[in-house]
């Protein structure tokens, strides 16, 4: 059946803020979907609460709603827009759940809206455990044996049926708390009691253990004519037990014969047919017993997924785009493969190996359980391609941005014996966290000691296990030993051992001749890794390669293993014969992407890179994208003219530059990853577009930056640079505590802390200096902490002559909270005209002094009428997409054009736009995934994503942002208030307002006194230390609906920690600053008074532009 003409208007639901498990892969799929549907002539309405997405750019849909992804809001949008159909399969679990809820409410039926992509029955059959199991039974496929039990008798019967070992999964606990494996009856009896105790509903799933089984994923599509294709088969390096999002994964499958593989394919076909997905893509996961090949179906996702994004990038087959077209009626054989021009109804075949490695951020979450389990914990991923597994693995390893240039050794950096002790503690106490493992001085160990330690450590899946395995081979462990310990397939282990053997051969000296180099390069060794193995300089290795003529070639990702010619220049490097890069002689610009998502470096930067590509295409340049993150829109072969899927290291980037010879390179849009290449690239003579590498350095080098501020008479918090503890004490004493400290080697708030005392400072300096290899050169920046100041973020764009303010954003939390974690409002709601004027003039002065051409971000602190500059970043900032959505100007595009030589006049952006509507950006945190982590906000960024709330008033915008971020503001009930002395007057005011709304107030003794004196009725509750029943008991009993708790000093922060944990577990709104509590109170009022309305971005923008013209 061809395109459905009975549909005219379609609603596409996005996946909301970036969270662990649901990241920018859904922007990639949503953007592809929206593009495909509009090309087909449909009117597309789109909803997503996440402003940092390409899909929410107003030109990607006819109507774009940046509204909370709640059933109420989406229902309001459906009411208003009356689409003919909703496509919920491109927006992750969030979109599927919303579609199911709209159906349950009867909205779809009442308004005559059809679900396309997957029907309600299919979604339920795939998602509901019992229905899925029934479906599998019906088609004769095995699923893991499992029973839901509520009593010990039921539990015993279950284990009788299943046999040991069994997995226990208590129902409704966060982060899999209370779960585990039992290998015998004794362990089981203990574990099941613990599980029942942990589950709020006293229920537990007892499941057959598939630990150590091989895990496979098939990415499949199916159309209405029952045409079916497997787009990609992905094999997990880590066996069952580690979430596939946290596993290293490899495509194609490496250790299946055809017969075994076809058995999976047959099963996948039977499953998608039985579940009834007939217009789109699905992901199906299997476990395979390595001993006898027994196949078990794990789960099926009836939608595009993280894995399908990976599969699309791995093969060149655009699953989301095809899925969108199938959803509107096309059959596979009616669509063409963009890359080869042949039919879309085929299965891609690849002649290279793809490796994905997840990126973790445990260093940001002290107290988190670092063991990899069935619950996903990684925050991003990288993908790499090579002709061999070894090459792709090492390329992926060096793409991670963890400072490792491949499968390098951690011996001497990680204390394996200490790690053994840690993993033992972890096994014994669920909550015991790993300390900052490593990078300090490590006591020497013999190979025998290391063998013993590593063999034990690798039994526990940890983020760095791949590197531990490498070290295991380095000290003489065998494939058999490591396979026994890990369950990892010996084929993979053998490959790692070969990498280590190659490293050893390189270390044995001998000439770096063509054969040696070719062999090392084919095994994925970077020049840096070769140099390290040989004790030489990187430049010498490069020189030897140049002399021997060993350079990478570029091969095309063509979906067909070279059977047909590829029409799209989507490439990866490898070593072999005959490069297919075929560079053109057009004038071209290269854009360096942001690498893997991690905390502080997320989708916002990819957004900017994508815009740069679009803008420069408009100016007639050929655009070249370089990136290694498979989740992104930037790595869609459709985004730039040419795509190099490569690690963002100097070596890898330089090789591409040598081939392509771009007229300019943009390094300022992809965040820290490309920015740190600015100076080395400039030094190598590469033309950097826009703001110069020197200007970037002037803004980042503390001393050079001070010179600028002095010259321009711009105020900054007092501070100083310290080398060592004593100097730090001196500076801090001079300024007065508390002080903000950070190591000078990192930017963007990493490892930044507010310290309140000498002892805190001493601890900080010790840890910070340990974390770097050359402690002598390491310095610490110590700055005055501007207590009670308000922070302000400003983004501006400059062409070198004219500086235009793009947006002034006032932080809602006080200074001290990382700007990436703070909620912000645009335009500022409480800043005076004088302050704003100063902010504007200083921003302009700084831009002109630095010679900024392109984007710049300045962070200010405002205390009363005083303004201070905290830092200047002459590059794209995290807030660029948010501002672009607010003011209706594609800021990154404007900046990219300016960087390519246009003036702001030519681009048509010459004056600041101050909108009438109010927009609030709110951050989203992964605390629920990390039990044991303190949730208090600090200068260390920990949010993974953001949402935006737009409305006519601050209160409503804040409400929408809060709701969008998942906070359920109560309409009434009991609020707990416990605040530091300085906040007591303000807290009393808030409490009075809440009492007026009918809230009951409970408070701790000190706060209660203040409330009583202010005439606010309240009741006393014990602090945890004061005996039971205390506040945590009340929270556990569900007697508290909202918490306002401000703290000061390390001790009170520690004391209130268990309370914060409990609020996260119970999903109770929790405010740690008065500013946020005030905003929340206003939002509660707005919520009481009227129904929230929805409005599209296009309508807001039309209003803005009508006002400005």
């Amino acid at each position: 059946m061809p395109r459905r003409d009975d549909l005219k208007k379609l609603l596409l639901i996005g996946s909301g803020p970036i969270v662990i498990g649901q990241a920018c892969e859904f922007d990639y799929s949503g953007t592809q979907g929206a593009k495909a549907l509009r090309q087909e002539g449909y009117e597309v309405v789109l909803v997503n609460s996440n402003p940092a997405t390409i899909m929410t750019d107003p030109e990607f849909a006819d109507r774009t709603y940046i509204e909370p992804l709640t059933p109420d809001m989406v229902e309001a949008i459906v009411e208003r827009e009356r689409p003919d159909a909703i496509l919920p399969t491109l927006g992750g679990q969030t979109a599927l759940n919303l579609a199911l809820e709209l159906d349950r409410r009867g909205v779809l039926e009442r308004l005559g809206v059809e679900l396309i992509g997957a029907k309600v029955d299919a979604i339920r059959k795939a998602e509901e455990r019992e229905l899925f199991k029934e479906a599998m039974d019906k088609i004769g496929l095995e699923s893991p044996r499992a029973h839901i039990v509520r009593t010990e008798a039921q539990a015993n019967a279950a284990v009788e049926d299943i046999g040991f070992p069994v997995i226990l999964r208590p129902s409704l606990t966060l982060g899999g708390a209370g779960g585990g494996v039992a290998y015998n009856r004794e362990e089981f009896e203990q574990a099941i009691r613990w599980a029942f105790q942990q589950s709020p509903v006293h229920e537990c799933l007892v499941e057959e253990s598939l630990l150590g089984w091989k895990e496979y994923e098939l990415e499949v599509i199916r159309d209405t004519a029952d045409n079916f294709a497997v787009i990609c088969t992905i094999e997990n390096f880590d066996p069952m037990g580690v979430h596939t999002g946290d596993s290293i994964t490899v495509a194609p499958s490496m250790t299946l014969t055809d017969r075994e593989y076809q058995r999976l394919r047959d099963a996948a076909r039977a499953i998608i047919t039985e579940i009834g997905v007939d217009t789109g893509g699905s992901n199906i996961q299997f476990g395979v017993n390595p001993v006898d090949g027994r196949v078990v179906v794990i789960e099926m996702n009836p939608r595009v997924s993280r894995s399908s994004a990976l599969a699309s990038k791995a093969t060149g087959y655009p699953i989301a785009k095809i899925a969108a077209k199938l959803a509107v009626g096309y059959r596979l054989d009616e669509l063409r493969n963009d890359i080869t021009g042949t039919s879309s109804a085929f299965e891609p075949t690849i002649d290279y190996v793809v490796t994905k490695i997840p990126r973790f951020a445990f260093e940001k979450f002290a107290g988190a359980d670092p063991r990899l389990t069935t619950q996903m914990k990684s925050v991003g991923e990288v993908m790499a391609m090579g002709r061999t597994f070894k090459e792709s693995l090492q390329k992926a390893a060096r793409s991670l941005e963890t400072g490792r240039d491949g499968l390098s050794s951690l011996i001497g950096k990680v204390d394996y014996r200490e790690l053994v002790a840690h993993t033992r503690r972890l096994r014994e106490h669920q909550e015991a966290a790993l300390g900052a493992a490593g990078d300090g001085a490590v006591p020497a160990a013999t190979d025998e000691e290391l063998r013993e330690a590593i063999l034990e450590v690798v039994r526990t899946p940890l983020a760095d296990r791949l590197w531990y395995l490498g070290d295991g081979f380095r000290v003489g462990l065998t494939v058999e030993q490591l396979q026994q310990a890990t369950g990892i397939d010996p084929w993979f282990l053998e490959q790692i051992s070969e990498i280590v053997a190659e490293e050893r051969r390189l270390g044995e000296g001998g000439p770096l001749d063509a054969a040696t180099l070719a062999r090392a390069k084919s095994a994925g060794f970077s020049d840096a890794a070769i140099a390290r193995a040989r004790g030489e300089r990187v430049a010498d290795v490069r020189a030897a390669r140049d002399a021997a003529g060993v350079a990478p070639i570029y091969s095309r990702v063509d979906t067909c293993a070279a059977e047909f010619e590829a029409l799209t220049p989507y490439m990866y490097s490898t070593y072999g014969l005959g490069s297919e890069s075929n560079p053109t002689d057009r004038k071209k610009v290269m854009i360096l992407g942001g690498g893997p998502n991690r905390i502080g470096q997320g989708i916002e930067f990819d957004y900017c890179c994508v815009h740069a590509a679009f803008a420069l295409k408009e100016l007639g340049f050929e655009t070249i994208m370089v990136n290694c993150n498979p989740e992104t829109v930037s790595t869609d072969y459709d985004t730039a003219d040419r795509l190099y899927f490569e690690p963002l290291t100097f070596e890898d980037v330089m090789h591409i530059i040598e081939v392509e010879k771009p007229a300019g390179v943009i390094v300022q849009f992809g965040g820290q990853t490309p920015l740190k290449l600015a100076v080395p690239l400039a030094r190598a003579g590469v033309p950097i577009l826009g703001t110069s590498a020197d200007a970037i350095d002037r803004a980042e080098d503390r001393e050079r930056f001070e010179e600028i501020l002095n010259k321009l008479s711009i105020a900054r918090p007092t501070g100083g640079i310290a080398r060592g503890t004593h100097e730090a004490f001196d500076v801090a004493d001079r300024i007065g505590y508390p002080v903000v400290v950070r190591p000078s080697y990192v930017l963007g708030g990493r490892a930044m802390e507010i310290v309140h005392s000498r002892s805190d400072l001493a601890r900080y300096v010790r840890v910070a200096l340990e974390a770097v290899s050359s402690a002598e050169t390491q310095t610490i920046l110590v700055d005055e902490f501007l207590k009670d100041a308000i922070e302000v973020d400003v983004d501006a764009v400059s062409d070198g002559e004219l500086v235009v303010i793009a947006g002034i954003m006032q932080h809602i939390e006080e200074a001290g909270v990382h700007s990436g974690d703070s909620s912000m409002v645009l335009p500022p709601h409480t800043l005076g005209a004088k302050v704003l004027e100063r902010i504007r003039s200083w921003t302009r002065a700084l831009a002109l002094e630095l010679g900024v051409v392109g984007l710049m971000n300045v962070q200010f602190a405002v205390r009363g009428d005083e303004v201070f500059v905290i830092e200047v970043n002459p590059r794209a900032s995290r807030t660029v997409p948010f501002i672009s959505k607010v003011i209706g100007v594609p800021l990154a595009k404007v900046a990219a054009k300016v960087m390519a030589g246009a003036t702001l006049h030519e681009v048509g952006f010459t004056k600041e736009i101050v909108p009438k509507h109010v927009s609030v950006k709110e951050s989203v945190f992964p605390f629920a995934k990390f039990p044991g982590v303190d949730t208090i906000l600090s200068p260390e960024m920990r949010s993974t994503g953001e949402v935006m709330g737009v409305a006519d008033s601050f209160a409503e915008a804040f409400l929408k942002a809060s709701v969008g971020a998942g906070t359920k503001l109560p309409g009434g009930g009991t609020v707990f208030v416990s605040v530091r002395d300085a906040d007591k007057p303000a807290a009393s005011k808030i409490a009075r307002t809440l009492v007026g709304f009918g809230f009951r107030v409970v408070a701790t003794a000190g706060t209660l006194d203040a409330l009583t004196r202010a005439g606010v009725p309240a009741e006393r509750v014990n602090k945890v230390a004061e005996g039971r029943p205390h506040i945590v008991d009340l929270l556990r009993n569900g007697e508290i609906d909202m918490v306002i708790n401000t703290t000061e000093g390390a001790e009170t922060i520690r004391d209130s920690r268990s309370m914060r944990r409990q609020t996260v577990l119970a999903e109770i709104p929790y405010f740690t600053t008065i500013a946020a509590a005030t905003a929340a109170t206003e939002a509660i009022e707005a919520q009481r008074h009227r129904q929230q309305t929805v409005r599209s971005l296009q309508e807001y923008h039309a209003e803005l532009h009508a006002a400005s013209s």
Partner: protein, 374 residues
């Protein structure tokens, strides 16, 4: 494993040097590539690759070793085997030996550590051609390649066919395909002509509950019919169909006598028996991801293909009709001769290696026999 340098030299002089694997020595054949990512053991033992030097485009080969269940013939018939990287370790619960050992045991000359993509691209743009592979010096190898007769014009069925009649009884066991459906309830008898038959064709027939007798390629039609078959099957096989004259003659005699099903060379022989023609493709269709459309149902099958020649669909007279088309290049992938109760496909419904999408054809054959028998 000793590391000897070996070379593949094409007739046009292009050379690819790497490491010798498998048996040492030199061998000559037509250089072709196949794009399947799984199933190297099936490729090695597919008799249709007789006298060809096969390059796997998938780069990591040998990972699962070799086992006793998966061969498609009693031994490999191909002339040489070229891979990017040979696995030093075997990892599979069914494996009984390494690929290297298997190649050596069967005297297959192999080559590893060459840029198989570069080789594939060369064959794609310059066409499949004769080549020599071995540890000899490149000039000698080049001379051998140039001297080798081209594939066009060669009947190779004699080299791969059985020399005696036998009954085939082995089914697929644990790997029986879901797509075949349940066995039919009558024990019908198929006589299968072995022009280089892949075992999975025979297994699939057995899986359907059929009695299968395999006969040599040269078996006269009357001898086959004397076995009292309910249906006749014409297998796949190597070489140039136009040159397979004895086969064509036999098929001419068989047409119309019983329900007839042909695969690959079987289809081509039927075409020639009807007076139609075949032609050689530039580099053939070899892989397990080839899309074919069944014109009767409109459904697309992902198929296994291994052919250098195809039936010229413009040459089909009134007796035969095209039933299946290749979605990439519109070549004839299936034909039917309704008046003779015969049908055939160019691709491999038995898969091995490959998807099972086309298993319905075996059922269709069984159904044809059932209705003819009743």
């Amino acid at each position: 494993m000793t590391r000897n340098t070996a070379h593949l030299v094409l007739a046009d002089g292009t050379r690819f040097s790497g490491v010798a694997i498998g048996a040492r020595g030199a061998s000559v054949g037509e250089a072709v590539f196949t794009t399947g990512m799984t199933g190297y053991q099936e490729v090695l033992t597919d008799p249709s690759y007789c006298d060809q030097i096969v390059t796997m485009t998938a780069p990591q080969i040998g990972n699962t070793g070799c086992n006793a269940d998966d061969p498609e013939a009693q031994r490999p018939f191909l002339a040489g085997f070229v891979v990017r990287e040979l696995s030093p370790r075997v990892s599979n619960w069914r494996a009984t030996e390494s690929l290297d050992a298997y190649l050596e045991r069967h005297g297959v000359v192999g080559l590893a550590e060459v840029d198989t993509r570069a080789l594939t691209r060369h064959l794609r743009s310059h066409g499949a051609q004769m080549a020599a592979l071995g540890t000899e010096d490149p000039a000698t190898l080049h001379d051998r390649a140039k001297a080798a007769p081209p594939m066009a014009g060669r009947d190779l069925t004699g080299a791969v066919s059985t020399d005696h009649v036998f009954e085939w009884t082995e089914g697929s066991g644990a790997f029986r395909s879901r797509a075949l459906g349940s066995p039919i309830d009558r024990r019908l008898h198929v006589v299968a002509y072995d022009f280089g038959v892949k075992r999975n064709i025979l297994r699939s027939l057995v899986d359907l509950g059929l009695r299968v007798t395999v006969v040599p390629a040269t078996t006269p039609a009357k001898d086959a019919l004397a076995l009292d078959p309910d249906g006749l099957f014409l297998s796949n096989g190597p070489g140039d169909p136009a040159a397979t004259e004895r086969g064509i003659a036999v098929v001419r005699d068989l047409l119309g006598k019983r329900p007839l099903f042909g695969i690959c060379l079987g289809q081509q022989l039927i075409a020639h028996a009807l007076g139609c023609s075949t032609y050689k493709l530039k580099f053939g269709h070899r892989g397990i991801n080839q899309p074919v459309k069944d014109l009767a149902t409109g459904r697309v099958e992902i198929t296994t293909q291994n052919h250098g020649f195809v039936v010229d669909k413009d040459s089909l007279g009134r007796r035969a009709t095209v039933t299946h088309l290749h979605l990439n290049d519109d070549t004839c992938q299936g034909l039917a001769v309704p008046d003779a109760d015969a049908f055939a496909v160019q691709y491999h419904p038995e898969a091995a290696a490959g998807p099972h999408d086309s298993h319905y054809l075996f059922r269709r054959f069984a159904d044809a026999m059932l209705s003819a028998a009743s």
